[in-house]
């Protein structure tokens, strides 16, 4: 589904990603871990198409197409979803209006008719239950005045509404208490299927107790320095990153 080959990206002449290689197949869950400033969020932003980053080298193929050539919205239409670390507040734009526009743009792209008002409402009810989001929030402006936990639930709610092929969740667990974490993680697990894939970016093993990854990658200084199974996350929790960084530097 996703093939990242030797991806280099920089911001204001400063290179952040220094040759990322990663393959994600349908049905897989990948966890990307690593210390602060290693490039985790940059990777997510570059895949979503954030314009302040410049790709200087490498290729990204998503569903047999060149992802890096696509404008931001086309990446979304093709099924790429980014769960934001800091979801953006959009004053004056209601959740309902926002989601309906997003869904209909995606449907139009696929050659489908716009969603009917009743189907949309039904879908909203159904999907809001997955992350236990207060229906009152849906009538408000996008993320405006939402608590930290509500914003993160809202990201997973939107993911459920849009049903993407590849979800990249950027530190969805940060700022969540244990109950909210469980709700969010259960939501992600619920949405998992053999047709979609998830990349979970996280600092802590804690989230991976609920969203069990098939692969764990450690990102350090713009490169993936270690890839292994879910047991790597446990080891990192116990020993930190230092030993791995040292091992990598010795090589």
């Amino acid at each position: 589904m996703l093939y990242i080959n030797n991806l280099h990206a920089s911001i204001e002449e400063r290179e952040i990603l220094k040759g990322i290689n990663l393959t994600v197949n349908k049905g897989e869950v990948h966890a990307i871990m690593g210390p602060n400033g290693s490039g985790k969020s940059t990777l997510a932003s570059v895949l979503a198409g954030k314009e302040k980053f410049t790709v200087t080298e490498g290729t990204v193929i998503f569903e047999s197409q060149n992802l890096l050539d696509m404008p931001i919205e086309k990446r979304a239409h093709e099924g790429l979803f980014l769960g934001f670390q800091y979801p953006v507040e959009i004053p004056g734009v209601s959740m309902a209006n926002f989601l309906k526009s997003a869904i209909n743009e995606q449907r139009t792209y696929r050659g489908e008719a716009p969603i009917s008002a009743s189907d949309f409402l039904k879908k909203m009810r159904e999907k809001s239950a997955i992350v236990d989001i207060d229906p009152k929030l849906i009538s408000r402006s996008v993320n405006e005045g939402f608590s930290g936990g509500e914003k993160k639930r809202n990201e997973i709610f939107q993911m459920a509404m849009l049903n993407p092929k590849l979800s990249i969740l950027d530190e969805t667990d940060s700022g969540l208490d244990i109950d909210a974490l469980r709700v969010v993680a259960n939501g992600v697990t619920h949405l998992k299927s053999s047709d979609n894939a998830t990349i979970v970016i996280t600092h802590y093993q804690r989230l991976l107790d609920y969203i069990v990854p098939d692969f764990v990658h450690v990102l350090y200084n713009g490169r993936i320095i270690r890839s292994a199974g879910k047991e790597l996350a446990l080891e990192l929790e116990e020993r930190g990153y230092d030993w791995l960084i040292k091992e990598c530097e010795n090589e």
Partner: protein
């Protein structure tokens, strides 16, 4: 001066020798006109008055325990200066203002406001939003004047400006003059372009750039138009505004 009265909630309307209105019961007014004649409005003992003003100068005199919700809509005028002055002449007065202006092409729009608090324990809340497009110029000058003896006043003024073009000019001059003690006053003014973060967020969900920009502009304006409680007037003004946004 021309005036159109809309809505059926108005029960009493008196026009005095100075061509002024006196409103003594619930009402909703639309004062429309493009000439520069000034309208004087006196309100007493009524807190449910809404005035929708399509950029005509006015003086509003608020007496004991009265209140008014004023909506100022400044659209599609080549050159227009709207001057309004509010006199809070009684205690327990609520003055609320929501204003939106959109300047296009080489429009030159001015909004000049003064709110005088002359009596104690009243409040005024003002939200002024301006949009500048093309090579237009918008000037907002808003003064809150709190006289001696107007203690316990609560006055708030917020001005937000949205620039949609590099050639547009917005001049903002919010200003407080306070001569009384024991008052709560604040004002703020921000001027910015469309938020790149908001646009990115919407595009990431599949909303194309143009639509995302429109949604954001609508969002900026909706806060004002949605507060118009008279439904037909709200729809009429929203329609005019959507037409303008479509063309941006």
């Amino acid at each position: 001066m021309s005036s159109v009265i809309s809505g059926s909630t108005i029960k009493t309307l008196q026009i005095d020798a100075k061509n002024s209105f006196e409103i003594s019961q619930d009402g909703c007014y639309q004062l429309a006109g493009t000439n520069n004649k000034k309208i004087d409005i006196y309100i007493t003992k009524d807190k449910n008055v809404e005035i929708v003003d399509l950029s005509i100068d006015c003086s509003i005199h608020l007496h004991l325990d009265s209140g008014v919700n004023l909506k100022m809509i400044s659209l599609k005028y080549k050159v227009s200066n709207t001057i309004y002055e509010v006199f809070i002449n009684g205690a327990g007065v609520d003055f609320n203002l929501d204003s939106i202006s959109i300047a296009q092409a080489d429009d030159n729009i001015g909004i000049y406001s003064t709110v005088h608090h002359t009596m104690p324990n009243s409040q005024s809340y003002q939200y002024i939003k301006c949009i500048g497009t093309d090579s237009s110029t918008t000037t907002f000058e808003g003064k809150v004047h709190i006289l001696k003896g107007a203690g316990g006043t609560n006055a708030y003024q917020q001005n937000k400006n949205l620039m949609l073009s590099d050639e547009a000019t917005i001049l903002a001059r919010p200003w407080l003059e306070v001569y009384a003690d024991d008052v709560k006053c604040s004002h703020g003014s921000t001027t910015g372009m469309l938020s790149e973060d908001e646009i990115f967020y919407m595009r990431q969900r599949g909303i194309p750039l143009k639509s995302a920009q429109k949604l954001q502009i609508e969002g900026f304006i909706l806060g004002v138009t949605q507060k118009i409680s008279n439904e037909s007037l709200r729809e009429k003004i929203s329609k005019i505004i959507f037409k303008i946004i479509e063309k941006l």
